[in-house]
């Protein structure tokens, strides 16, 4: 059985000269969380875009459950999106300011009427009820359903974004720095929520962050990205092992 996500030697440049990614390869197994650490500008967000199919790699291949998603176009690409969902960094930017919360949350389910997530099978009623169940899943009350994003706190908005990310019951959830625009006290709540959901629903995460403590808390394995190359990959427990790459060690010594 192929791994859930397999990324093989992908490269990406913008313009003629700027090489953002060079031969990056990694895998994520079912139910596993891979933490991806790197400074800003190291190519983390480009990896997100490529895996989500928002951009095509210049070279290399990306497989989701054995399907070559980098070759998909049009309808096939749209349908492959059911399996990989995303939570972006800034929840204020990732929710349409002019849509009520419940509309944002159920939109993916509205787009794929054929998807019936296991955790929503006993919900009866229309889209609002589905939205309420999804919000409940991330610890939000149904009184938020009719609000607009700017009437919610940052942490609440990020929970809404997580609810939307989970709504299709994807196999993989890409979390692109999901806590770095939040207050410190809220960060811990969001991390706990993500960890609980992973254990309950058995989905895999690609957890991208520059916060090594958050990555260590969330991940089974950690990969370190520097200047577009993966320089180190190891089990989370081996973070402090003396075999680590000097760059990784530097990272663990200086609190970010």
């Amino acid at each position: 059985m192929p791994p859930l996500l397999e990324v093989i030697k992908i490269g990406k440049s913008y313009g003629d000269s700027v090489k953002v990614l060079r031969e990056v390869s990694f895998q994520i197994g079912a139910g596993e969380c891979l933490g991806l650490v790197g400074e800003s500008g190291s190519g983390k967000s480009t990896i997100t875009r490529l895996i989500l199919g928002l951009d095509k790699p210049d070279s290399g291949e990306i497989f989701v459950s054995g399907q070559a998603v980098h070759r998909l176009k049009g309808k096939a690409l749209r349908h492959s999106r059911k399996h990989v969902q995303v939570v972006f960094q800034d929840p204020a930017a990732s929710l349409n300011p002019r849509l009520r919360i419940w509309k944002s949350v159920v939109e993916p389910l509205e787009n794929f009427p054929d998807v019936e997530p296991k955790f929503l099978t006993n919900v009866s009623g229309g889209q609002r009820e589905l939205a309420a169940a999804l919000l409940d899943r991330v610890g939000l009350g149904s009184e938020l359903l009719d609000r607009y994003p700017d009437q919610l706190s940052g942490g609440q908005k990020q929970r809404v974004a997580i609810a939307r990310g989970l709504s299709l019951e994807p196999k993989l959830l890409v979390c692109d720095e999901p806590t770095s625009s939040l207050d410190v006290s809220v960060q811990a709540q969001i991390l706990n929520l993500l960890k609980e959901l992973k254990e309950e629903l058995g989905i895999s995460y690609l957890f991208i962050s520059h916060d090594i403590a958050a990555v260590r808390f969330m991940s089974d394995r950690i990969a370190v990205l520097k200047d577009g190359q993966l320089i180190d990959q190891f089990a989370a427990g081996d973070l402090f092992s003396p075999e680590r790459h000097p760059y990784t060690r530097k990272w663990t010594e200086t609190p970010a």
């Binding site: 749209r78 794929f112 939307r164 299709l168």
Partner: protein, 294 residues
């Protein structure tokens, strides 16, 4: 600015329309003016039940009276009735022009902004070409080539005006399309149609409204000017610009023949410009509040 207005300006816009209006005396004046004109255009025939086309040479150039509230023109026609009837012509044509322009311009802008690449490049070259000619000259040329009539006048205005809407919408789409909520919607499996009409188009509503409010004034002026030049409404049809032209030979002896239609044009254009200004202020304020709540 007095204290009450300051207070109203500083209150959040979410409280509704009342705050909008009291915070914007100009918007209020503009809307009131427009309301009066609409009322006159729709019900004015009750006040002066004269046929705007009926010629009565015995009654020419009369002063205002109960029967003719603003007097009669050089052919003995009731000026008030002609103004009212002209209001319907002018405002009706303007509304049709603006609707047509939006129906063409907004989808074009959405398409070009979202598709980018070659389609967008082709469109921009076309627009650059059209913009290289002063729009009024272009309208005159079109109206001149196709022959003077109201229909051709509308066509020539539409030909020039759709560009503005396409460009505004295209700009908004290009600014928004890489934002995270659009990416999230794409990842969520939204089809292009939904992205365009549910997520992108609503972001363009405010700038399009402001543009439209200003354009009403400009379109009225264009229609009146071209009618004045004889390229639009043809006699004896009552249209404000054409009425101005009709009254020109009598300017020395009966200046009111030009004064009334001129004042009507000025007031309506003023009303729409006030509304445009007011709307721009209100919508800008709202954007700022959205940016940093609390």
């Amino acid at each position: 600015m007095n204290a009450a207005i300051k207070k109203a300006v500083l209150r959040p816009a979410r409280n509704g329309r009342y705050v909008w209006l009291s915070a914007n005396p100009l918007l209020l004046i503009g809307i009131s003016l427009l309301f009066v004109f609409m009322l006159l255009a729709l019900s004015g025939w009750l006040l002066a039940a004269n046929d705007p086309l009926a010629v009565n040479m015995a009654e020419r150039l009369k002063s205002p009276s109960l029967e003719y509230p603003l007097g009669t023109d050089h052919m003995g026609r009731c000026i008030f009735s002609r103004l009212i009837s002209g209001a319907r012509t002018t405002l009706g044509i303007t509304a049709m022009v603006l609707m047509t322009v939006m129906v063409i311009g907004i989808p074009m802008g959405l398409l070009c902004g979202y598709a980018g690449g070659r389609i967008d490049a082709l469109f921009m070259r076309l627009v650059d070409g059209l913009l290289a000619l002063p729009e009024f000259i272009l309208a005159i040329a079109v109206a001149g080539f196709l022959g003077p009539s109201l229909m051709n006048l509308m066509l020539s205005v539409v030909l020039v005006k759709w560009i503005g809407y396409a460009r505004v919408v295209r700009g908004v789409v290009m600014a928004e399309r890489e934002k995270e909520y659009i990416l999230a919607a794409r990842v969520g499996g939204a089809r292009t149609f939904k992205l365009l009409f549910r997520h992108l188009l609503p972001q363009a509503v405010s700038p399009v409204m402001v543009l439209a409010a200003f354009d009403v004034g400009k379109v009225i002026l264009t229609i009146s000017s071209l009618s004045y030049l004889g390229l639009g409404a043809q006699p004896p049809a009552p249209e404000w610009g054409a009425m101005l032209n009709d009254g020109r030979p009598y300017f020395q002896t009966a200046p009111e023949l030009m004064l009334y239609p001129g004042a009507a044009i000025m007031l309506v254009v003023l009303a729409f410009n006030l509304i445009g200004d007011g709307l721009r202020n209100v919508l800008d304020l709202k954007e700022r509040w959205r940016g940093n709540p609390g």
